[in-house]
Symmetry: C2
Subunit: 365 residues, 2 copies
């Protein structure tokens, strides 16, 4: 069966690729047309493989399909784990015409994409994201990479997939915290450039959190459209793409501080977006009511709106200095001119920045 | 002093870059115009740094210059060594506007280029090649990478430098075996597409091996021109660029067999070119006299014309199977239709291939 497909395209010239968003696509869609050679390597993890590996294998009927199952979690987004993919590619004699398939969440997508970007200087890959975060964010845009012990995503490459297949039915198996973490990115798209979508989310958040399929599909579609439009405009993050980092500079500081383990990426981004919103209000761009709307929407999505206890302004300042959004040593932030209208700046009142840090960091006295 | 410069350009659209070939350019040329940010990291090795690091530092008068000195040798072209570069970039807080500088031979160029390709998903780099091999081959074309324990250059990326500065004076400090190894690639350019250059090399080989500056500069210039033209035509190695692999499929088998230690890359390529020449003769493309010319030129350049003793046809067959020039499981070779006219084929008489292997491999009875 060829499911009714809800297509959209990421427009990148000859690297243009489709995103398919459809319930039941995993397991029923024949992906052979997107496989150039005869070899496929599916990369998944210990959580996702038992649920979806067999369905994914069925999508490549004409290929020799190998697999590698990695441990689950952001702390495994390392060179050592990446090397396990290379070892299988060597052992199974995959050539430069092989296709890698990322079956899982953002970590699997990033690490598999980076393996594809660097195996024999670049081979094809396909994304089958199974978490909300990966469906709305990690699978669109071609960012791939691994972490350095001292910094997230410090090592990576831009490498675009041939196709992305997002099946909303896979979200049924997600733990609630992961669902919430993905919702942080969905909310982000509304905040940075689509006030109508933000209002739509306020209207439908309860349906979304109750996993109603039609609103869910709509939220994924609008998020992907938003990100795809931004990526098409700015593939290499020279300009507008930086807006996608709303909440990420604060958020990465939180993730680094907590060692990439206690906080999910989306949770850190949620707290970071709240901090960016607060700073935008202090700088006079937003009013009090705007901040309340953001806070309430995040809370309804079961997301944190404060950084972890025990994190001080000193921690934030130290960790934000080496963040890679940083140009020429100054802290560079995405702020909100209004809800639905983000901008990037290095030029803000440092006292307001300090006030935001102090407001969110409660000393442990 | 701004030296008189012998420029040529590698034409790659917006990634177009110049190659400067000039005695004395290292240490006298101001490279600041090719540095976008304020940070520079020079990557060199224990052999080259004592000779040229201070001169290289002087080329970046306006920048904050850090350095990392790696161990010398192909066996260090590994992830562990690459990670030492990343560690320094982290420790010294280099941002995505940093510029990496490769000061050394092909290994330093490959590993530094790969670090630049993947640090924060890609930063600028500059090549200052100090060996003949690196000047005529490794610094042109954007191939970067590291070795996997079971395969050479298995992990890498295409990443173009901003500028290449080749100073022939640095060749004065090269050991004779390294000079010969570089000459193998020079001869290769004559063999694959320039019979006039091949004749010129036959005329000047003794001057070149005696390190006479003018012929040396001419040989480097013509080699770079040849490679630059091929790369401009085929950046991603979809077609004509594959011709540059003359001798490399046999050669990589030799290097893998010897564990990347006893044989230099250029030596392995020389023996490999002789094997490809022999096969081309067996297939009726070349005559006996052509083979003799190739053999004599390689011998005059003090290069090996046979694989290492103890390497058998079984070894070659096993190692050539996983070579990445290989498409769909068949051995793919660069052969000579005539001297100065190479072509790629998978379609050759397997008996002639076996005869070549048997001819060059002397059983240890």
């Amino acid at each position: 069966m060829q499911p009714k497909q809800d297509h959209l395209n990421v427009e990148l010239g000859e690297r243009r690729y489709p995103i398919v968003i459809e319930e039941g696509s995993l397991g029923s869609m024949d992906l052979s047309p997107w496989v150039a050679g005869e070899q496929v390597l599916i990369v998944s993890n210990e959580t996702v493989a038992p649920l979806y590996l067999e369905q994914a294998r069925a999508s490549f009927p004409g290929s020799r399909v190998d697999e590698v199952i990695l441990p689950d979690g952001e702390r495994y987004k390392t060179w050592e784990t990446l090397n396990r993919i290379f070892d299988v590619l060597i052992d199974k004699q995959h050539t430069r015409r092989t296709t890698l398939v990322a079956l899982g969440g953002g970590v699997i997508g990033d690490i598999t994409g980076f393996a594809a970007a660097t195996w024999q200087r670049g081979v094809d890959f396909i994304q089958i994201p199974t978490t909300l975060l990966a469906q709305v964010d990690a699978s669109v845009g071609g960012k791939t990479g691994i972490n350095h012990p001292q910094g997230k995503n410090m090592i990576g490459a831009f490498h675009q997939p041939r196709i992305v297949v997002a099946d909303p039915l896979t979200l049924g198996s997600l733990p609630p915290t992961e669902m919430a973490a993905g919702m942080a990115e969905v909310i982000k798209y509304g905040l940075i450039r689509d006030e109508h979508f933000l209002s739509w989310l306020e209207e439908h958040m309860d349906h979304l959190m109750a996993m109603q399929p039609e609103p869910l599909k709509e939220a994924i579609r609008r998020s992907c459209e938003c990100k795809a439009a931004i990526v098409a405009e700015d593939e290499r993050e020279a300009g507008v793409r930086a807006l996608l980092n709303l909440g990420h500079t604060f958020g990465h500081a939180i993730e680094t501080h907590t060692g990439y383990s206690d906080w999910l990426h989306g949770e850190a981004v949620a707290a970071g977006m709240m901090m960016a919103t607060d700073l935008s209000e202090r700088l006079g761009y937003l009013n009090y009511n705007d901040s309340v709307r953001v806070r309430q929407l995040l809370i309804r999505a079961r997301l944190p709106v404060n950084p972890p206890e025990g994190m001080s302004p000193v921690h934030f300042r130290a960790l934000m200095q080496v963040d890679k959004k940083n140009v020429s040593g100054r802290v560079r932030l995405v702020l909100l001119r209004a809800l639905g209208d983000a901008f990037v700046t290095e030029d803000f009142d440092p006292e307001a920045f300090e006030a935001t840090l102090n407001h969110f960091c409660h000393p442990l006295d």
